[in-house]
């Protein structure tokens, strides 16, 4: 097969399905290994490169609980069902982890979303945590809320949540566009710890400028593996690394083939 033909391969055909199936098989295999390592006679925590935002998060939660202030988690203005779904789901993983750690607090976390479905999922995530911990009487449905239905009205609503709810930390993790800068500015004015990450590269650049601890690239999607060592999440991080190596090898081989003029007419 010529290199030109390789460049023309469409990823939304059977090849794409094969890649997804390979990814799923790698994930399942690595998750199995992670589960065994966790349940073995000498459980070993998974070794990952440190990510400052996740190293700082437990301290931010502790400070919020001790000072009786809330944590604000923002899921972004994207919609569940559209291309932003994965970023919102990654944000929901952080909501569950944070809510579980802060459930002892008098002031539970408040979650803002810019989409009706995302706000319902946020409420459900909070309710699930309180149900598991037999603290359902502490669950407040208004803690998961729609802040606005358009990106800028959402940003305006989320910005006001920071001073209104006396927040101790601003976790801006989900699906954002340029409006992420408005929300991190509200946190900076309040002088609180800020962790920010998004799927969109423009929003990531703005998060880097505006937040204390930015999440770059795929870092947003690995919270479950870093903070709770969930086997499925650890497996997916390992599978991502394996796929990355395969992609890098493919890029290098094709670049060399192209440079040598192989396959060109």
């Amino acid at each position: 097969m010529s290199t030109d033909a390789l460049w023309r391969i469409s990823t939304d055909g059977p090849l794409g399905l094969a890649v997804v199936l390979l990814f799923a098989a790698l994930m399942a295999g690595f998750a199995l290994f992670a589960r065994r390592a966790r349940k073995g006679t000498t459980p070993r925590p998974p070794a990952f490169r440190p990510i400052e935002a996740y190293s700082r998060l437990p301290r931010a939660i502790g400070e919020a609980v001790e000072t009786g202030r809330r944590l604000h988690i923002s899921l972004g203005s994207g919609s569940v069902g559209a291309s932003d779904t994965a970023s919102i789901l990654a944000g929901l993983t952080i909501v569950e982890i944070v809510a579980q750690a802060a459930s002892a607090s008098d002031k539970p976390p408040v979650v803002t979303a810019g989409d009706g479905t995302a706000s319902i999922l946020a409420q459900d995530a909070l309710r699930r945590v309180y149900t598991r911990q037999n603290l359902i009487e502490r669950y407040d449905p208004n803690a998961g809320r729609l802040a606005g239905a358009t990106p800028l009205s959402f940003a305006a609503g989320a910005m006001m949540t920071v001073p209104d709810e006396t927040t101790a930390a601003n976790l801006v993790t989900g699906s954002f566009g340029t409006e992420i800068a408005l929300i991190t500015e509200a946190g900076a004015r309040a002088g609180i710890t800020q962790i920010a990450g998004a799927g969109d590269p423009t929003a990531q650049a703005l998060a880097y400028a505006g937040a204390d601890h930015p999440l770059v690239g795929e870092e947003l999607y690995v919270a479950g593996a870093y903070l709770r060592s969930f086997p499925a999440h650890v497996g997916s991080v390992r599978a991502q690394d394996a796929m990355r190596v395969l992609i890098v090898v493919a890029i290098v081989v094709l670049a060399i083939a192209r440079a040598l003029g192989l396959g060109t007419p």
């Binding site: 989409d115 006001m160 500015e185 690239g217």
Partner: protein, 206 residues
């Protein structure tokens, strides 16, 4: 059973939709389109639920009468005002269009315009607060300044060479970095989606 039924529905719907995306045949495409139409209808209902939640939150804030209660009151009044105009005079009527064109659009544009000032402050803060590695923040700010000057429509005397540097930055390191980031994001997105499809993550039910 309370866990199995929602999980089975989510996994089945996810797999049918995914197969419709990858396999271009009617027996896969038709169920995918039906499910996507259902999802659109459910999202509209969810938006209504979200709006009721938004009104409850702001009604509670008005009742609590804190410093920003006025803004919550303003939100409730404008919400019912705009909805009233839409219901009584029609969503495509002249009054509704006037509200969108002369109130909502300019207000959002004004909020959007604030971004520039906030970014300048963010750039300044970036230089003041130490961040690891130490050289990352200065490089970020200097590159942002070069790109901004390179994009300026007027040529600033003495900065002609920056145009070439701007082109090189955009076409070589920025493009390479953005592609690397997008590759990582794509892998993260696939992993997150697969965890839901394999029922390892269940962002619904108990």
């Amino acid at each position: 059973m309370k866990r199995i039924i929602p999980t089975a529905i989510a996994v089945a719907v996810g797999i049918v939709t995914l197969l419709g995306y990858f396999i271009d045949r009617g027996e896969f495409k038709v169920p995918q389109l039906v499910l996507l139409n259902w999802a659109t209808t459910l999202a509209a209902v969810a938006l209504l639920v979200g709006i009721v939640n938004l009104l409850r939150v702001h009604a509670a804030k008005v009742g609590a009468s804190n410093v920003n209660s006025f803004y919550s009151l303003l939100l409730l009044l404008t919400f019912f005002g705009v909805v009233g105009v839409g219901f009584w005079l029609g969503p495509a009527g002249a009054p509704a269009r006037w509200v969108f064109r002369y109130l909502i659009a300019p207000t959002e544009a004004a909020v959007g315009a604030l971004l520039f000032f906030f970014l300048v402050f963010a750039g300044y803060r970036l230089l003041r607060v130490p961040r690891s590695p130490w050289w990352a923040a200065p490089v970020f700010v200097v590159v942002a300044l070069i790109v901004l000057i390179g994009l300026a429509p007027l040529t600033i005397p003495g900065t002609e060479a920056l145009g070439g540097i701007h082109n090189w930055i955009v076409q070589v390191p920025a493009a390479a970095g953005a592609r690397g980031i997008l590759l990582g994001v794509a892998l993260g997105v696939i992993a997150t989606g697969l965890r839901v499809l394999l029922a390892a993550d269940r962002p619904y039910g108990d």
